[in-house]
């Protein structure tokens, strides 16, 4: 029996995830020792923890990129940017959650613990090239989200959506696991490059297994990213979940899943001729179905749910352009768009959460009437978020779509560019409906003081608005930051190709 020397451990690589996890545990302990108090301490501790986690990401940008922990953790631009984004999303969600939860009479501390762990799960998903780690991240994220969705126990809608999410999600996860098994079988590798190994083995059965394994993996990921035709859960769950959970879920789940999808698709390069046409149609269908289904919704959260389906489609266009022509198209515009999406979604849902009053919450369009008078600042910012979601220049949304549009043209994906532009214009119709609803006078004009925004919410909204301005004003620098620099930091697709 031989003992191997203990390898030097790259603590930095797991620091962000660990900090977020531990913060969740600390929050749990606080709740344990001080039950039935208000959650202010927990919020404060969580915010500090998230801030520290964010801090632990920053220095890593200048550290050598590569994998550690036997390939279970990988450090690269994609992962770092998305980790930072996931932390930020969680931070913003915590800022406006407490007032909302109190307004809805469900101010339980479990929200914070579960959300923190969900974030950690998402962070694991985007920083690993090990399929099993990826699966674990997916599970942690998913299970926490199922519970969060059903948190509003007095509403049947919330419970029902949690059940739907759980059952459909379980199948999605099962497909992922089955896919991993099919990839592991022929190669004995749990790494994401199992596909290349199988294809390189040149045995038709291995290729076949890899193909189906990869396909099932994609099914699971499409489910998590809410891409058509695996989007059915999205509107129901978005509508049924408490609004702060919807905001958190819409951003976190999408960011993590798309981040993982980027890695998986890049690793699937040897099989590109099989899956590319399928993903091509998935992108088109997501944009078309998402935007057109949103047109006929009467509920703001459902509308935003379908809008998130459409936005997933836009992101997929960017990813496909990168995979199609990695030498011409970097991942920068994908990351740029995802960042913008996270910020504007958080902002929009934060404002929509103001519809909750006295334990009740209506999220139909007419429930937003008069918001302009109750919360002028938040309503004003909502215009900004919605303008950005439409893609009005010079907002983040505009730049994001513009970059993706250019990428698609550069990669020769003309139909995708066209569908992107056309459906974006269609989307203006329902997004404008949201703004319109906010500015209509309230019927009956009952003055209700309790629905006024609190400091936390205003701060969250302000942060999102500032981020939108900041990112659009500094679009060039942001893009440059996100574009892999020249010192050996290749885009994900190229690196995977190089490893082969």
């Amino acid at each position: 029996m031989s003992y191997q020397p203990i390898p030097t451990i790259d603590w930095w690589a797991i620091a962000p995830v660990s900090i977020v996890m531990v913060t969740g545990i600390v929050a749990l302990l606080i709740e344990m020792f001080r039950p039935n108090r208000n959650n202010n301490t927990i919020v404060a501790v969580s915010l500090v923890g998230l801030f520290l986690a964010g801090l632990s990401v920053v220095p890593q940008f200048s550290m050598p990129f590569g994998s550690s922990f036997g390939g279970m953790v990988v450090r690269d631009y994609l992962g770092l940017v998305l980790q930072l984004l996931l932390i930020t999303v969680c931070f913003v969600a915590f800022l406006f959650s407490e007032p909302y939860l109190r307004e809805k009479r469900i101010a339980f501390a479990e929200f914070y613990q579960l959300a923190l762990w969900a974030s950690a799960g998402g962070m694991i998903m985007v920083t690993t090239e090990n399929l099993l780690m990826f699966f674990l991240g997916l599970e942690v994220l998913g299970i926490a989200l199922y519970c969060l969705t059903g948190m509003c126990r007095q509403e049947l809608r919330s419970e029902e959506s949690a059940m739907k999410y759980f059952l459909l999600g379980a199948f999605g996860t099962a497909f992922v696991l089955m896919g991993i098994a099919y990839l592991y079988g022929p190669t004995g590798s749990l790494r994401i490059d199992a596909v290349s190994i199988a294809v390189a083995s040149d045995q038709p059965h291995f290729v076949l297994m890899a193909l189906f394994g990869f396909g099932l993996l994609l099914v699971g990921l499409c489910f998590k990213s809410a891409l058509v035709p695996f989007h059915q859960w999205t509107p129901d769950v978005y509508q049924g979940a408490p609004t702060n959970v919807t905001a958190f879920m819409a951003s976190t789940s999408k960011i993590a899943a798309i981040g993982a999808l980027i890695r998986v698709l890049a690793a699937g390069a040897p099989l590109v001729s099989y899956w590319f046409p399928i993903m091509f149609w998935v992108a088109i269908l997501s944009m078309v179905v998402g935007n057109f289904a949103a047109l006929v919704q009467k509920d703001v959260k459902r509308t935003l749910g379908y809008s998130s389906v459409a936005n997933g489609g836009y992101m997929l266009v960017a990813v496909l352009a990168h995979v199609q022509a990695p030498e011409k198209v970097s991942l920068a515009s994908t990351l740029f768009f995802i960042t913008g999406y996270g910020v504007m979604t958080m902002g929009a849902f934060a404002v929509v959460s103001l519809a909750a009053r006295d334990g009740k919450e209506g999220t139909r369009f007419q429930d937003l009437h008069g918001l302009w008078h109750r919360a002028p600042f938040a309503a004003g910012c909502l215009i900004l978020f919605v303008a950005s979601l439409i893609g009005v220049p010079p907002t983040v949304g505009f730049f994001g779509k513009m970059f993706i549009f250019n990428d698609a043209l550069a990669a020769g994906l003309l139909p995708l560019a066209l569908v992107l532009a056309v459906t974006s214009v269609v989307s203006a119709y329902y997004y404008l409906g949201i703004i319109q609803a906010v500015f209509v006078q309230e019927e009956g004009a009952v003055k209700n003081e309790s629905g006024r925004p609190q400091a936390g919410l205003n701060l969250a909204v302000l942060l999102c608005a500032l981020a939108i301005f900041g990112i659009s004003l500094g679009a060039e620098n942001v893009l440059k930051f996100m574009a892999p620099a020249e010192d050996g930091r290749q885009p994900v697709a190229e690196r995977t190709v190089a490893q082969r």
């Binding site: 459909l168 970059f403 560019a417």
Partner: protein
Amino acid sequence: MLGPLWRSGLPDGGMLAVLGVGFLLSVLAPFVVRAAGPKGFAWLAAYPAGVFAWGLAAPSEVTAFPWAAGVEVALRLDGLSRLFVLLVSGLGALILVYASGYFKPRPNLGRFAGAFIGFMASMLGLVLADDAILLFVFWELTSVTSYLLIGFDHESPSARASAQQAFLVTAAGGLAMLAGFVVLHSETGTFRFSEMGFVVPEALMGAPALLLIVAGCATKSAQFPFHFWLPNAMAAPTPVSAFLHSATMVKAGVYLLARLKPTMESVTLWSPLLMGLGAATALVALALLAYHHDAKKLLAYTTMGALGALVFLLGQPDRYALQAFVALVTAHALYKGALFLTAGSLDKATGTRDVFAWSGLGRAMPWTAFGGALAAGSALGLVGTLGFIGKEYALKVGGAPAGWIVTAAFALGAGLVASRVGILPFVGGRREAKAIEVPWAMWLGPVVLGVAGIGLALSVGLWGAGLFDEVGASLRGRPVDWTWKPFFGFDRVFAASLLLAGLGFWLGWRIRPLGSTPPTMGLDRSWHRAVAALPGWAAKATSWLAPVGSVTGAAAGGRLRDGLAGLFSVVTVVVATGLASSGPIRFAVPFVWPGVFEAMLVVLAGATAVAVVFAPRRVSAICMLGIVGTGVALIFLTHGAPDLALTQLLAELLVIVIAVLVFYRLPKFRSLSSGWVRVRDATIALGFGTVMALLLLAVQSSPPQADVAAGLAARSVPEAYGRNVVNTILVDFRALDTLGEATVLVVAAIGVLALMRLRMEDAA
């Protein structure tokens, strides 16, 4: 020369500043108007006035302002865009002044001001854009702002409907146009107008690009059969009609065609398409205006006629056609704006827009009469007006009689309505005793525009070579040297021109509306039918695409079953297609006859699996599932894998215990699905199972890489000191993964606990 006054001394980035200030002002305008009341509009006029001065002075240039990586704001000031900048800003300034007199203090004026300035800035951006995508963005922005402006009276359902109609028609056209740009990009390789060169006649994508772009232009510029939104848009306040629907927005389509003329006129389809479209529009407009007596509707139809004539002129390669185009664009903007404003003033003074109710107002409203008459003179095309010059050139265009017919149709309509709105209300016997002159702000515009129409015409020899030839250069794609003069001598063309003016006036004087139910002659009715059907159609389409949840979403009452059915059928189809298309598959799994014990297990498990489907109660279903699982575990055992069997058995037991715990609380089984739904579900289930089984068989046909299973088994005892391979994998070889799974379980447990606690607190 009234062209660029001085060619240096202006700082760079003027174009960007014009747009930036405009959009900034559109944000600030509401506050200005809220603070100063309607007077605020006159203050806001400083912006277009400044732009007008800039437009006179700024040098022609193409500049790309780098904004962010890969995105440049490419702007271009040349003859064509300069002419439009001057028209937009000049008219904009006068109409803002007019608005300060037109509006009474009322709520929402601030919003109106913001939208108005926003529209102005978007329109300036549209004509200054050198990048097709940028133009598209501004194009849609003008649609959005005009939606807000037309729907200003948002209490009135008809105003809302008109606004929506105008928005949807023009925005949809904009999409076609964008598609056209992208197709054009595949031919020219650039989105920059200034770098496009020209499309070779034999280019494959030339005609599709042209058709798509013309579709966009036709909706924006109210060409037949998309014209129906324009008369309906007259629900807007008069300043909006005067600005958007005479001089600026409706000209955007014409502008774009002029902009693309050097690039696309080489496409064979160009001439026939544009000439046909323009001629049809001009004739239909003349036919329709005979049915109306509402001043603004009449003006709308003459606008449509003029737009038709302009498109018709663009379709011809003739030099005179281009000269006529340049002169008419200018003349029409000036006189039509003035006539709209005059009509608005008369409406204000008399309380009606019926042109036949206006009579003898000249004495009471001298200034309005003066401005209206000057504008009407230009519209009639009397000697010494810009309208005359335009008509003269249009008649000079050689060739087919089609040109004469179109010009005549346009000129007669313009003359008829001009005399009805600009001359006849002010002569004859007076009917309205109370009418008094409108405030100066409201007559200033018509007077200035009327005087400008005449002054510019008389002095055209002085400045035409400067401004108009520069426009000609944009249209031709090379410098031109055209002659511009206010009068061309007494010839056949002059006689015809005079005849048209006289006939137009006579018609306006004598003719009454033909009937009270005007035909629409377009897609208006189909439009309404389509709009009425849209929500139902969309709901149907999406409920098919998105089976979970009632799509219109009063409650999340969707059926989980449908969602699962969707998920499984997609996976089944994808996997089946994959299997079928990956060539012949050998199912080379060695077949061994099972022993008696094993055969019994297989039969037992299989029969129970079938029986589960028919189980009457949940508990019995769970028990049967347990039997299936146990059967599988025992089969593992017979194949000599006790550790695997043990694990399977444990997992199976645990699942059953949990399932019984959970299902105990659930209601009884109920039959909720109809017969054919069951058949569908059964088909999907069977299909999924079959496909997965086939897949498993296919991949099992060749042994997996040996090191995976054998390697682990071999290392199990020496490295992990364990004989149960499954155990050693779980707690040794992949211990970290197990730790991760434990984490997942803990998260799940805490989540479930939290949910249960919430329920208990609810109950308490």
